[in-house]
């Protein structure tokens, strides 16, 4: 499914390591199975050859790692960024979270990543091997004699189904062809919820958020959540809590988290990807993005470095908070 | 003053112009090349539409004297677009049953060898429904 191959990436990374451009490589490390890829720092060509992997399950957004990893390297760190990752990269730069000079970005094309839970839903237990074959994915399992052939498009991660851009907004070097910003349908689901009655929306979110186990994976994976100390971990903040003790705290956590990243969230979808309970958290962030686009004009966080986020900006002509709902009624 | 609110609103809607923006500078009329031909001048159109005083305009020949050169639109410092107001009144007039300002039968009488074909076509388009 991916246009760029593992070998091309290894050879590019090896070249940059060998010629001294970078001192280490942030890439995907091979796991136990074909789908459990771990972000890994490779220091040598040998490590790359042995452990580097690139396949349809390399969804992790590396941008956030740069906050901690970039400063630790003596030289530059090579990071491989998919188009959507580059938006997070720019947003983090806008917020001065790492030194651009310490990073060498190779932009890599992405044909969309697979969601392993969708694969498992189709193939069931006992997945032994997964391989790509054109537009198909072949899955060998313990319980089926022949590999199960599934259409790659059917197991595409939600965020890739609604991919917003195949264009890299930041890179030092680009592998493959540059893509375009895409007119996606990513707000359709938000609009569907908006069109519901308040009671239906409440029931929807009550059901979704009640599954939250407050593992903080959404926050810890989120490239916009790079606070030195999160308010929810800080006993002095007044809102610290460690568990979803009741439905209020579930909402509090997710509302405030979405609010804190509003205008800074690039819609990379990591929150929903990592949620062990499959809560569609991206629908909260997308609501803010949709609102901001509608209220204050289209804004894509991370499109450029140095942009002023909409919630730390204003015009004298902005709409009133009460007018928000009038508009909502029109849209419905 | 608003003696014909429905027509007024309709004309404003058709024209897309905001007549309340007019600050009475008269630059539209100052710039109008057909001024002397017109009974009501561009600024009067704007003002009378704003006041709902539409009937006299509907019956005025001025509707057909406006050249639609859009000089007034270009010059108006407030973006009122007087020519579009005139156009809207004209449309209101000719949309009435049997109110076409020109019919095919009228053409032979006014045509002469020097009249460009284009003029006839556009006049026909402009003055009939």
């Amino acid at each position: 499914m991916q246009k760029i191959t593992r070998d091309q990436l290894v050879s590019k990374a090896s070249e940059l390591l060998s010629n001294g451009t970078v001192c280490c490589v942030l890439g995907w490390g091979m796991g136990e199975f074909d789908y459990d890829v771990t972000p890994t720092v490779f220091n040598t060509v040998e490590e790359l050859n042995n452990g580097f992997v690139f396949n349809d399950f390399c969804g992790a957004n590396f941008s956030k790692y740069l906050v901690s990893k970039a400063a630790k390297c003596d030289g530059k760190i090579l990071v491989l960024l998919k188009p959507c990752d580059t938006y997070s990269f720019n947003q983090l730069l806008t917020e001065h979270r790492f030194d651009r000079e310490k990073v060498y970005v190779v932009g890599i094309p992405c044909e969309g990543m697979a969601d392993v839970s969708k694969v498992k839903a189709i193939c069931g237990e006992g997945i032994l091997a997964i391989s790509s074959n054109g537009d198909n994915i072949n899955v060998t399992t313990l319980y089926d004699e022949n590999p199960i052939v599934i259409n790659a498009a059917d197991v595409l991660a939600e965020r890739c189904v609604n991919c917003k851009s195949k264009k890299h907004v930041a890179y030092d070097e680009l592998l493959g062809d540059e893509g375009e910003v895409i007119e996606s349908n990513r707000f359709d689901e938000v609009a569907r919820l908006e069109a519901m009655s308040a009671d239906e929306r409440f029931a929807f979110w009550q059901n979704e958020l009640s599954r939250c186990i407050r593992c903080n994976a959404c926050r810890d994976a989120c490239p916009a959540c790079t606070c030195e100390k999160c308010v929810f971990d800080n006993p002095n903040s007044g809102v610290e809590n460690k568990s979803p003790a009741n439905s209020f705290e579930e909402k509090l956590f997710h509302i405030i988290r979405a609010y804190h990243v509003a205008g800074r969230c690039t819609d990379c979808g990591e929150c929903s990807r990592v949620c062990p309970q499959n809560i569609p958290l991206h629908l909260l962030n997308r609501k803010f993005i949709k609102d901001i686009n509608e209220f204050y004009g289209d804004y894509q966080a991370g499109e450029e470095v140095g942009m002023r986020a909409p919630l730390v900006n204003y015009t004298t002509e902005d709409l009133e908070p009460g007018e928000v709902f009038d508009r909502g009624a029109d849209n419905a | 003053m608003h003696n014909n609110k429905y027509l007024r609103d309709e004309i404003i809607r058709i024209s897309g112009a905001d007549v309340s923006k007019c600050m009475r500078c008269g630059k539209c009329s100052a710039t109008c090349p057909a001024y002397d031909e017109m009974e009501y001048h561009p600024h009067q159109f704007v003002n009378m539409v704003e006041c709902g005083d539409i009937e006299p305009l509907l019956n005025s020949e001025s509707l057909y004297k406006c050249l639609s050169c859009f000089a007034c639109i270009d010059r108006c410092p407030r973006g009122v677009q007087p020519a579009k107001v005139v156009e809207a009144v004209r449309l209101t007039a000719i949309r009435k049953q049997g109110a076409n300002h020109i019919t095919a039968d009228d053409i032979p009488a006014v045509v002469d060898a020097d009249t460009p074909q284009q003029l006839l076509v556009s006049a026909f388009r402009k003055y009939t429904k």
């Binding site: 400063a71 806008t94 917020e95 001065h96 979270r97 790079t226 606070c227 030195e228 100390k229 999160c230 308010v231 800080n234 002095n236 903040s237 007044g238 804190h260 990243v261 002023r308 986020a309 919630l311 730390v312 900006n313 | 923006k21 600050m23 009475r24 500078c25 008269g26 630059k27 539209c28 009329s29 100052a30 710039t31 109008c32 001024y35 002397d36 001048h41 600024h43 009067q44 000089a71 010059r75 108006c76 410092p77 407030r78 973006g79 009122v80």
Partner: protein
């Protein structure tokens, strides 16, 4: 834990009439932290205040809650009381049980219940109060005035008069600004030069004032009382301190065909020049773009004729660093470009001119030595058409005009028309107007005189088109009163061009972190109550940089700005509002959200080294609030996602404690 004393005021029957004050003081007694609670008839009276002071001593109180009238009324009073009792004044909280309780509720039960809750909220807050000490910062007793027009001149003179040093930075070779180019001034018709040049001389001679002419401000650091400013002194290739302004060089310079800016290009000057006879400083300046010697090393005439030896072709731009306590912006205005107004044929005919050009034409020191002639052929014009509001009040044409009224055009046009008719009674003068706006002392009388005594023809309407035809200008206009279209054969057309802020204002505003409106006029700290201050502390506004103004208004604003500066410089130290934001550097991640929303530019960033948990160190960018600049609005505290930014006196924890107390 705090030791809180609660003092419930009856305010005569104002509070006690609807609130059972005894019940309130009793109920608050059992609140956490409260060690003493009482009530009294008039807490703000001497006896009431003494009661508080005594209680502080007797019960060793660390915090005070007064349940009384609005804090807007007596918070200051009780803070002083606390201070007198040896407590930090910020350990006082007021529960507003009069304006927001007893006066709006009629029922004693409801009133009492609410008063208790408001009291509990105040106790909850005071339990979390910490003593606050206002920050102090020294004041550099010198002011900087940017712009040397009449606004800057007046401000500088007033500040110097009060005994403080002032520097004027003017980008032109001379101070004087637009007023120096004017002929007469309305409505009194004094000669502009006659009233301006003595002031310019005053400036030059004042020991307290330094003039940096031909200079620009390139960098501003620091904050109120402590600005650090870099001034770039452009090389004028003439040693300012030696040049006597004799003019020999100007006369001998072979490059004589340079358009003269001072006369708006209506005549020429030489490559080395003195803008006008009364220039201050009266020193020559070499135009490096025109001088042959500077361009290709061939000439040197001026150097040869200069008896004083002031010419220095090797002079370089010079950067000067200076400290200031206050900065006054007086960057003034310019007429807008007429290039885009094709209908008036400004670029097609020399005889279509702007009003400022008209000023030069009628000025005795102007290109025609004060004789009103057509720029094209030098002939006397018989018919003159003045067009008002060219580019002003222009909503649809943002790319060429301005939405606002330029304010001064009505009056100067009346002046021009009147003077023309006065000097040349044989001329016909038309003024086309949309409205004639004359609010000002003797203004309308002046305009009426032009019409009634001088026979100026005011026509309500606008000029639609000016077409040069032969040596005439065909003017097509409307007369709205007569409902006619006019066609006038004019000899001269004068356009009252809209005015706009000087182009240097925008980058300057960025340097000063002062805010501007969409038209690039500086915004005032408050449109009514603080009209000469910018929201950025220590930055003041003088003249047309804040909005269109005539001379009397400019001068009065200049004086007002000066008095604000004097008030600031008279202090040895600035005492800040202690309720300011502060950033916890351990939590700050340097994202800049707070700086983005700060209206005062009070937040800067520092790279700080932190010890990491793994015993390494890491350099991190963190926000630092300058307490002298922060005004305590709290916008940053909400912009900060990590909660690193908090507001003293209104801390997150304090407000939440109030919320909790109210909601329980």
């Amino acid at each position: 834990m705090q030791r809180v004393g609660v003092f419930v005021c009856w305010c005569g029957s104002n509070i006690a009439g609807t609130v059972d004050v005894e019940a309130v003081s009793e109920a608050l007694k059992s609140e956490p932290g409260v060690v003493f609670s009482t009530n009294y008839q008039y807490m703000c009276s001497q006896a009431g205040q003494d009661m508080i002071k005594d209680a502080v001593k007797e019960h060793n109180l660390t915090g005070i809650v007064v349940c009384s009238c609005s804090p807007r009324m007596h918070e200051a009073t009780f803070r002083k009381t606390a201070a007198a009792a040896g407590l930090n004044p910020y350990m006082v909280e007021i529960a507003n049980i009069r304006e927001q309780c007893s006066w709006v509720h009629k029922d004693v039960l409801t009133g009492t219940e609410k008063a208790i809750i408001l009291g509990k909220a105040a106790v909850a807050k005071v339990n979390l109060n910490t003593p606050l000490i206002p920050g102090e910062s020294p004041v550099t007793k010198r002011a900087l005035v940017i712009g040397g027009g009449i606004a800057g001149i007046q401000t500088a003179l007033d500040i110097a008069d009060a005994g403080f040093e002032v520097d004027i930075v003017e980008k032109k070779p001379t101070i004087g600004g637009k007023m120096a180019q004017l002929d007469k001034t309305f409505p009194t018709l004094d000669c502009a030069a006659c009233i301006l040049t003595p002031k310019m001389v005053d400036v030059a001679q004042n020991e307290k004032i330094r003039i940096f002419s031909y200079s620009e401000v390139t960098e501003v650091q620091g904050f109120v009382g402590n600005f650090d400013v870099t001034i770039k002194k452009n090389a004028r290739y003439v040693k300012e301190e030696i040049c006597t302004g004799c003019g020999a060089c100007v006369e001998k310079c072979p490059m004589k065909k340079i358009p003269n800016e001072f006369n708006l290009g209506m005549d020429n000057r030489s490559a080395i020049y003195i803008p006008f006879a009364q220039a201050v400083p009266k020193v020559a300046t070499i135009d490096p773009n025109a001088c042959n010697m500077l361009k290709n090393g061939k000439c040197g005439v001026c150097s040869k004729v200069c008896a004083a030896g002031a010419i220095d072709y090797t002079q370089k731009d010079e950067y000067i660093n200076e400290k200031y306590g206050a900065i006054v912006v007086a960057t003034g205005f310019n007429p807008i470009s007429m290039d885009k107004f094709d209908e008036f044929a400004y670029n097609q005919s020399k005889d279509v001119i702007t009003s400022l050009e008209f000023e030069r034409l009628t000025n005795a020191a102007g290109p025609s030595a004060g004789k009103l002639v057509r720029p094209s052929d030098g002939k006397h014009p018989h018919t003159i058409v003045f067009v008002q509001c060219v580019g002003s009040r222009c909503e649809s044409c943002a790319e060429k005009g301005k939405e606002y009224c330029s304010k001064i055009c009505c009056m100067y046009t009346a002046k021009h028309a009147m003077l023309t008719r006065d000097k040349y009674p044989d001329t016909e003068v038309y003024v086309f107007y949309i409205d004639v706006r004359t609010p000002g002392k003797n203004f309308d009388e002046f305009y009426r005189r032009a019409v009634e005594e001088y026979g100026v023809k005011y026509v309500k309407g606008m000029v639609g088109k000016v077409t040069p035809e032969g040596d005439k200008l065909k003017v097509q206009a409307s007369d709205l009163i007569a409902n006619k279209q006019l066609h006038i054969d004019a000899d001269l057309v004068v356009l009252a061009a809209a005015i706009e802020p000087d182009k240097s204002a925008r980058p300057l505003a960025t340097m000063l972190t002062a805010s501007m409106d969409t038209n690039d006029f500086f915004t005032e700290a408050h449109p009514k109550l603080r009209p000469v201050e910018s929201p950025t502390a220590g930055v003041f506004l003088s003249g047309a940089c804040q909005g269109p103004k005539d001379i009397p208004e400019t001068v009065s604003q200049a004086g007002a700005a000066a008095s604000k500066v004097i008030g600031l410089l008279a202090k040895d130290k600035l005492t800040g509002n202690p309720c300011v934001a502060n950033s916890n550097e351990l939590m700050c991640n340097g994202c800049s959200s707070c700086a983005n929303v700060c209206p005062y530019g009070a937040i800067s960033y520092e790279d700080k080294e932190f010890r990491m948990p793994d015993r390494t160190t890491k350099v991190r960018r963190v926000a630092v609030v300058n307490p002298a600049v922060c005004q305590g609005c709290g916008a940053c505290t909400v912009a900060c996602p990590s909660g690193a930014m908090d507001l003293k006196g209104f801390a997150n924890s304090q407000i939440m404690a109030e919320v909790d107390a109210i909601c329980k």
